[in-house]
């Protein structure tokens, strides 16, 4: 743990003696320099800095110093803090704490409370202990409460064999720590603690207690008295089972009395966490909607007298929102890894560049290979041709991936053209579409009727072996 050159606990008031700094540790040096800045007006800060730098030096779980985490706490957030600090799950640490408490006959409990006292909360520099030192009344109260418990345990020890007190003695320290924490914790933490001890408080105010509570109170009292009676009558040394029975009765009393409240507290904690998760999700959604939809709506309002632009903006936004909602793609993500994505990419491009809506229907999907990329290129050419020359108000782009082949149909209800009057050297249809398909083992059929429109059907068998690769798997997904 500790480097041998340094005392296990940094010396008291070392800030007053700069000569004792350790220049080998620049990080620590920096801390002390900061400490001295605060030292002028906050003299009580001196020992809290000792603790902090002590923990800081060894912290490397997440790179941050050890801090309690009041966001994720059950009692003081110590376990959550240690978890984050060392990179464990808080639950693991919590289970570890409980096991430690049992193994050490209860000594781990006061250690937890000491941790609560001396580890600052996340986002804060002050420990509760630093404040408690100046709370002389609180110290007196703590000593008083602790000694009260000690006296009670001495009395109880005189009455039976002392097997239970082993667990109770450490709690003398716990009681003292708790008193100090209670008096000196910051307001928000106090609110959380109040929530935890609410059941005990409400037992005090008996005037507005409901009937169920009263009944529980009576049952608990009976069980408690019976349990204590059994425990106290033990010094007769009768049966081995009797202490166990008494213990059970006491536990039952506590469960009956406080159980419902603890349950509610656990539920509240859960709700609180869920609400936080929902709020985050909502914020994320709002950010997305703002980035895209609201911006587009603003643009649409500004160009309200230009229907063409309005339609284009609306289409582009619809596409983006759709791909985010149903395909889980972030806006601006244009990586194409599958055939269907490639088809939608064609839609995006043609709509943006040529201002004609493209109705896309894709059936099935498969990963892209060299031949399918060629098919996509031919489909793009056919779609661009339709957008440029046909004059149609909408282009239909249909793609179907079947186990043995892939088919794409590009269709418009535009002007059409006479296939025989197209000069043989015109690149578009001849080279970019038909030639490309043929080279990759596919075929292209162009049907066109003047005045009725054009349809280009592209077909390519699946599983064609590219140069140097075995035939692809013919099955989808």
């Amino acid at each position: 743990m500790q480097e041998p050159s340094e005392p296990p606990w940094p010396p008291f008031r070392f800030q007053d003696r700069p000569g004792r700094r350790h220049p080998r540790h620049p990080r620590r040096h920096e801390h002390r320099w900061q400490d001295q800045q605060g030292f002028q007006d906050r003299p009580e800060g001196e020992d809290r800095h000792d603790w902090r730098s002590h923990f800081t030096r060894h912290g490397h779980g997440d790179g941050n110093p050890l801090r309690r985490d009041p966001e994720d706490r059950i009692a003081g957030g110590v376990a959550a803090g240690i978890g984050t600090w060392r990179g464990f799950s808080p639950t693991t640490v919590r289970i570890g704490c409980v096991v430690a408490a049992l193994v050490t006959t209860g000594w781990a409990v006061p250690i937890y409370f000491i941790g609560w006292l001396v580890i600052p909360a996340k986002g804060s520099d002050t420990t509760i202990a630093a404040k408690a030192r100046h709370d002389s009344q609180g110290v007196a109260l703590a000593v008083g409460a602790a000694s009260l418990l000690a006296v009670f345990l001495l009395l109880a020890g005189a009455l039976n064999d002392g097997s239970i007190q082993i667990y109770c003695w450490p709690q003398v320290v716990s009681v003292a720590c708790l008193t100090l924490i209670w008096r000196n914790a910051p307001e928000d933490e106090k609110a959380g603690m109040r929530h935890l001890i609410e059941p005990l408080e409400s037992l005090g105010g008996a005037d507005n207690v409901r009937r169920g509570t009263k009944l529980r109170f009576v049952v608990a009292a009976v069980l408690l008295i019976a349990g204590i009676g059994v425990l106290l009558s033990l010094h007769g040394g009768l049966y081995l089972l009797r202490p166990l029975g008494g213990f059970l009765l006491v536990v039952a009393a506590i469960v009956v009395l406080l159980g419902p409240w603890w349950l509610r507290i656990a539920r509240d904690l859960l709700f609180e966490r869920q609400a936080r998760a929902r709020a985050e999700e909502r914020a994320d959604m709002a950010a997305r909607v703002h980035d895209s939809v609201l911006q587009t709506l603003a643009l649409i309002q500004r160009s309200a007298d230009d229907p063409q632009t309005v339609v284009q903006l609306a289409r582009a936004q619809e596409r983006e929102l759709r791909s985010w909602l149903f395909e889980g793609r972030a806006p601006g993500d244009t990586t194409v890894t599958s055939f269907a994505e490639g088809i939608r990419e064609i839609q995006r491009d043609v709509e943006a560049r040529h201002n004609v809506p493209v109705e896309v229907v894709t059936v099935g999907d498969c990963p892209l290979d060299e031949h399918l990329s060629a098919l996509l290129a031919a489909a793009r050419e056919a779609t661009v041709n339709a957008a440029k020359w046909s004059g149609a108000s909408v282009i239909s782009l249909f793609a179907e991936v079947e186990p043995d082949k892939v088919e794409v149909a590009v269709r418009d209800r535009g002007s059409g053209f006479d296939l025989y009057s197209v000069p043989a050297d015109r690149k578009g249809v001849a080279e970019s579409i038909r030639g490309r398909m043929l080279r990759h083992g596919g075929k292209a059929i162009v049907q066109s009727t003047l005045g009725e429109g054009t349809k280009v059907t592209l077909t390519m068998a699946r599983g064609l072996a590219p140069a140097g690769q075995p035939a692809a798997d013919g099955r989808r997904r």
Partner: protein, 225 residues
């Protein structure tokens, strides 16, 4: 109730169910001439009540409703009034939601971007008992059946007739998915419009009766991708 009065077909009586007031008033204004809008509802419970009171020819039903989705309305109304016909429409169409509405019993599905003339036409066809497939629905259906058929290892042993489309049905659906009208499909395949309609109705029936297991598996896959 004003059923067909005289030889001429009267305008179908229509109820609009959509949670967007703006959309309802827009459709009502545009359709006003061509159909008779007898009521509007904005959620599942009021819609069921209104439909059972008015018993319209066609219910124009949004796929997404706050109180449980369009299919909840169909399922409830169909129990007592199987004669009421539903035409589903939506703006954001996740395939599994659309298929759910069709399987509940809607006679067709169109997108909200449809033109008024086409919408009125679709309503009339549904009122006459035909099925109305938009190009998008045709794509979803092809996808659903293709995926189910392409995985022989999970092929269920239910009525195999229902689990598969015939070659002709696939051809019809493919053309519809490419934006062909029924008339154009008929001309392309050298069959009558009536035959096209019967193919589409048969697809609809298969979609509604086919093994639930298979189509829900398809929907689950869609959700994952």
């Amino acid at each position: 109730m004003s059923a067909a009065d005289g030889g001429d077909k009267s305008a179908p009586r229509v109820i609009l169910v959509d949670d967007h007031g703006l959309f309802r008033s827009g459709v009502r204004a545009e359709l006003g001439r061509q159909v008779e809008v007898v009521g509007e509802a904005d959620d599942v419970a009021p819609a069921i009540e209104l439909i059972e009171r008015e018993l319209p020819d066609v219910v124009l039903l949004d796929v997404h409703l706050p109180g449980g989705g369009g299919h909840a309305v169909i399922t409830e109304v169909k129990k007592a009034h199987p004669e009421v016909k539903f035409l589903a429409l939506s703006a954001s169409d996740a395939p599994e939601d659309v298929i759910a509405v069709i399987r509940a019993g809607a006679r067709g599905y169109v997108t909200k971007t449809i033109s008024t003339t086409d919408l009125a036409d679709a309503i009339r066809r549904v009122a006459d008992g035909d099925a109305v497939f938009s190009h998008r629905l045709a794509g979803f259906v092809l996808d659903a059946f293709a995926t189910a058929g392409a995985a022989p290892d999970v092929r269920p042993s239910f009525d195999p007739e229902l689990d598969q489309l015939t070659t002709r049905e696939r051809e019809v659906l493919r053309l519809i998915a490419q934006g062909y009208t029924y008339k154009e499909v008929a001309r392309e395949l050298f069959i009558s419009v009536k035959t096209v309609e019967s193919h589409v109705s048969s697809v609809l029936r298969k979609l509604q009766l086919s093994s639930r297991h298979q189509l829900s598996r398809w929907a689950a896959e869609r959700r994952l991708t």
